[in-house]
């Protein structure tokens, strides 16, 4: 959510920024995961059950990226940010 606006400033359009955000977040996820793992903050076995659904979701999501209009995508994305933001401030 932070990477997408930054990438747009670097000259990507909305769709490109969202796709490229994955390549930025992925290495960060790996590093963070290793930190969490070394501190024993990950329960690996109970986490695995979310992955099959997730992979199917990734296939649907990447396909949606090709089909949906960028303006609609932006609107959905900002609605999501608004929701997450309100949740964080309230929580």
């Amino acid at each position: 959510m932070i990477a997408v606006p930054l990438l747009k400033k670097a000259g990507y359009n909305q769709k490109e920024a969202q796709s490229n955000a994955i390549s930025v977040i992925f290495p960060l996820t790996l590093v963070s995961f290793l930190i969490y793992l070394s501190r024993g903050a990950v329960d690996i076995i109970p986490s695995l059950k979310y992955i099959p659904g997730g992979i199917a979701g990734a296939m649907i999501g990447t396909l949606l990226m090709k089909k949906i209009k960028p303006q609609l995508l932006r609107l959905i994305f900002s609605a999501f940010m608004l929701w997450a933001g309100i949740r964080m401030v309230a929580g």
Binding site: G53, I55, A84, I86
Partner: protein
């Protein structure tokens, strides 16, 4: 059985949102903390593990579509990695604290700006259509 079904559904939604670069982690963490009763720091750990295969699948698909520009992204990756360790310490020290509220406020501002930008686009589109119709 029911447990597997809800887990798959939570994974599916998180996977869709995550693969579109919209922070699927938010979805999975919310499910884990609010519905599955997992504590925050463990939910974050699960979410990190979850995102690794999702990111690999998405990246392969986007890479084939030739939309990824690694050279341009490198600076963001390097700066981001520098933020990982301090991020972990913040997450453990300020778990329910100020940080997430500040972050949330930032998100609301960004979202408001985006929604304003989108509404301008739709309004100008409608005006153009109205103009075209009045000409006919």
């Amino acid at each position: 059985m029911n447990d597997i079904l809800t887990a798959t559904l939570a994974g599916l939604i998180s996977g869709i949102v995550g693969s579109m670069g919209m922070g699927g982690g938010g979805v999975l963490i919310i499910y884990l903390t609010l519905f599955a009763g997992v504590e925050q720091i463990k939910a974050q750990g699960t979410n990190l593990l979850f995102f690794i295969p999702i990111a690999i699948v998405s990246l392969i698909i986007y890479w084939r579509r030739d939309v990824i520009d690694l050279k341009k992204n490198l600076q963001f990756i390097l700066w981001g990695i520098c933020g990982c360790l301090p991020g972990y310490f913040l997450a453990t020290k300020l778990q329910n604290g100020l940080l997430s509220k500040i972050f949330g406020a930032g998100l609301i501002l960004l979202a408001a700006r985006e929604i304003y930008g989108c509404s301008e686009y739709y309004i100008s589109k409608r005006r153009k259509e109205a103009k075209r119709k009045s000409r006919l």
